[in-house]
Homo-oligomer: 228 residues x 2
DNA sequence: TAAAAAAGTTAGTTATGACTAACAAATTAA
DNA sequence: TTAATTTGTTAGTCATAACTAACTTTTTTA
């Protein structure tokens, strides 16, 4: 690891691109990530992405060949993990200490993750007694930048009779998060798959003595660990 | 107050200029503030300031006539007070919960004060049980934007025999703040002026059974309330 | 009050990071 | 295997916000 990392004189935009690329590569486990895919994810034009990728290649955070797929260097990966650590610690703080709900934390954490202060984030971590998971269930990288991906599968991949535990939810949509809490689902809820309807792939589930029918789209955003 | 305030779609730079102008006008109690003075304070060129003042006039946050002095509108003032509220609440949080020292908080608070979330700052205020003063002694504006200036005089303005209480310190210099805590001065310390030396205006003071000689420059940055 | 100094303004340049439009390369489908 | 589509690149534009250099107005002082 070079000492370039400690200077960390990156702009907010540069950080956003590195984090986005990391999430496509690692979180979504994509075999390859292209320029336009990254542009899509960040909701900017392919031209903007192309431009930024050039800059990040020059700074040795990104690797790619002309017309080829994108990848991160060790340094690039390290910066992305730190951003994810900051994001998840702030989300945890907002939920556990400042009365924020699941669906309110994301936008504010997007801002807070760009605050530059090593001491701030490590002290925040200590203050909360080194939490392992963020409010959506995702694992929080530690101060050494050790990153683990939560073992999880989509609720939609289960079959009738399966029993599972809710381990995480996709935090990409405010409406989805609101819906999850409204029907009473929470992290660690035990869910039983009663029926998978072939017609529209909707799923009938039971949890906390409640029976609900959810759509395929909903079940794609709920991550579980199989119990039975 | 217009509803323009609630949109608050100002850039970091625009906010910095408004806050700086407010501090020159109100905190330093300047009779008039000019373009170059504001440039000096923000450590940017007069041309940059001139440019930004034009923009802020167009947005109706600043008032001034060509070649004339600068002033803030009600809206401009309101935005500045909110920034000061945010800055001081974050400083308080960093010192009281995250083990930051006096001299470490300023730079991080400069970043945090630009985070845009009404809920974040009001919940932080509640979490700390609505503190009245920041770690440097300054008053924290409340959620309604009510701003009070701490009644304070410079230690350097006192005479031999005067007794006073430390109410605030100027937070502009890290070295100054380090020095203050090193010699053992803290908020509410009772200070007795033993001698004012005509030659170099240095002052001999006594506090907590310690006797120290401090320079005029030092005493200009220490704010007190007279007791005797 | 005229000259000097200080304060304020304007014009033109630079860097960042968006954008569109046009074009080139790679992939997919007919 | 050619044609169509998707993907990636380049060139040129725009806004923000900094800068220097040159110039104008105002204020100070000799």
């Amino acid at each position: 690891m070079t000492n370039k990392l400690n200077l960390n004189n990156l702009t907010k935009s540069e950080e956003d691109y590195l984090k986005a690329l990391f999430q496509l590569l690692v979180e979504d486990n994509a075999a390859k990530v292209g320029n336009n895919q990254l542009a899509d994810y960040l909701k900017v034009s392919p031209a903007s992405t192309n431009n930024m990728v050039k800059k990040l290649k020059a700074k040795e955070y990104v690797i790619s060949e002309k017309y080829g797929k994108l990848d991160l260097t060790e340094d690039g990966r390290s910066i992305a993990v730190r951003l994810i650590r900051k994001h998840r610690l702030w989300e945890t703080f907002l939920c556990n200490y400042l009365n924020f709900t699941w669906d309110e934390v994301h936008d504010v954490a997007e801002q807070l993750e760009h605050i530059k202060s090593r001491k701030l984030i490590d002290e925040l971590d200590r203050f909360m007694d080194f939490p392992k998971n963020d409010p959506h269930g995702e694992l929080i990288p530690n101060a050494n930048g050790e990153y683990a991906v939560l073992p999880k599968i989509m609720l939609s991949s289960l079959s009738e009779g399966d029993v599972c535990k809710l381990v995480a939810v996709n935090d990409g949509s405010v409406n989805f998060l609101k819906y999850v809490s409204e029907i009473g689902l929470a992290l660690s809820s035990e869910i039983k798959v009663l029926e998978v309807r072939e017609f529209d792939k909707s799923i009938r589930i039971e949890f906390n003595d409640v029976i609900e029918t959810v759509t395929r789209k909903f079940a794609d955003n709920v991550f579980v660990k199989k119990v039975v």
